[in-house]
């Protein structure tokens, strides 16, 4: 009865404690990494010590920060269970560079078309059969490609392919999508998806 967009999850209420011992070690590691990240975000929000230099104030700041980070980590683990395989950080860095460069290209491309008096648009649709497993990986792919030049995911076709709206169907859109997908799959440990 629930959405089949995310078949890798149990429907409705998420339960992920049934993974058993195999998932225990990576998830503990993931929890630690996320907790550290959230605490870093807290530090950057609160900037402890910048205007309240006294020691008890600083200690209170840090304690509240730890509590907040713990709460955020707990919610994050429940909403987004860590993938069985860890992320590859080298691939992530490469992906980030690619993403930033391509999103700049996307902005310039749209701006060029908008300012051009002839309005050079050739919009159309394209079905792209994604190889990433359904779930967070595919959702991330949709989010990333919605910021890539000339593509915007508008839905899922009957056969499971992602449907893209393209600003200009003469561009090699599918090749670009395939490159994004390959890079993203490598970030998630080559297997593709979060199964």
């Amino acid at each position: 009865m629930h959405a089949n967009q995310l078949p890798s999850r149990s429907p409705g209420r998420l339960k992920f404690t049934d993974d058993g011992a195999t998932a225990a070690a990576p998830s503990a590691l993931a929890a630690l990494a996320r907790g550290a990240g959230f605490f870093g975000f807290w530090l950057l929000l609160a900037r402890p010590g910048t205007d309240a230099p006294s020691t008890p104030d600083l200690a209170a700041d840090l304690v509240v920060g730890l509590l907040a980070a713990a709460a955020a980590t707990w919610v994050s683990l429940r909403l987004l269970p860590p993938a069985r395989k860890g992320l590859h950080f080298g691939a992530l860095a490469r992906f980030a560079v690619h993403f930033i460069r391509q999103s700049m290209v996307a902005g310039v491309d749209v701006a060029r078309r908008a300012f051009d008096p002839r309005l050079p648009l050739n919009p159309g649709y394209l079905a792209y059969p994604v190889r990433l497993a359904p779930g967070t990986g595919r959702a991330a792919f949709g989010a990333v490609t919605s910021l890539m030049p000339g593509t915007l995911p508008v839905g899922t076709a009957a056969d499971g392919a992602l449907i893209y709206h393209c600003l200009d169907v003469d561009q090699p859109v599918a090749a670009g999508l395939a490159r994004d997908e390959a890079l993203l799959a490598r970030v998630r440990g080559n297997g593709g998806g979060c199964r």
């Binding site: 999103s103 310039v108 949709g142 009957a158 600003l167 599918a174 090749a175 390959a182």
Partner: protein
């Protein structure tokens, strides 16, 4: 040095403002909702990114830098979500029936097979 940084700020913020203008122009000139959605999500996020980039030299602490970048990342996430959500809401109906879409003569239905040689 400070002059160079100020110049950098002026250039980046101006470029960012131009991309905001592009987003607006696209929103007004593009012919249908989906193409307008492209203009909105892509031009705006680049515009905000450039404004953030331009403001970096004007904020002193490293905290300020990361804070600005965090704002940009949050805006990126919402931009991506908004684009897809609104696209899903206005998606033309023919997609629900067709399996292999006849998109355009220029793109063969199996175009994604190009991915196999990646």
């Amino acid at each position: 040095m400070s002059l160079a940084l100020d110049l950098f700020t002026i250039v980046a913020v101006t470029l960012g403002a131009i991309f905001f203008l592009a987003g607006t122009v696209g929103l007004l000139r593009f012919p249908d909702t989906l193409t307008r959605l492209h203009a909105l999500t892509k031009a705006d996020n680049l515009g905000l990114g450039l404004v953030v980039l331009g403001l970096l030299p004007q904020t002193t602490a490293p905290f300020g830098w990361i804070g600005l970048i965090a704002v940009w990342l949050l805006a990126l996430l919402s931009g991506a979500t908004v684009g897809q959500l609104l696209a899903e809401a206005v998606r033309p109906p023919e997609w629900d029936q067709t399996r292999t879409p006849a998109a355009s003569p220029d793109v063969p239905p199996n175009a994604p097979e190009a991915s196999s040689h990646d």
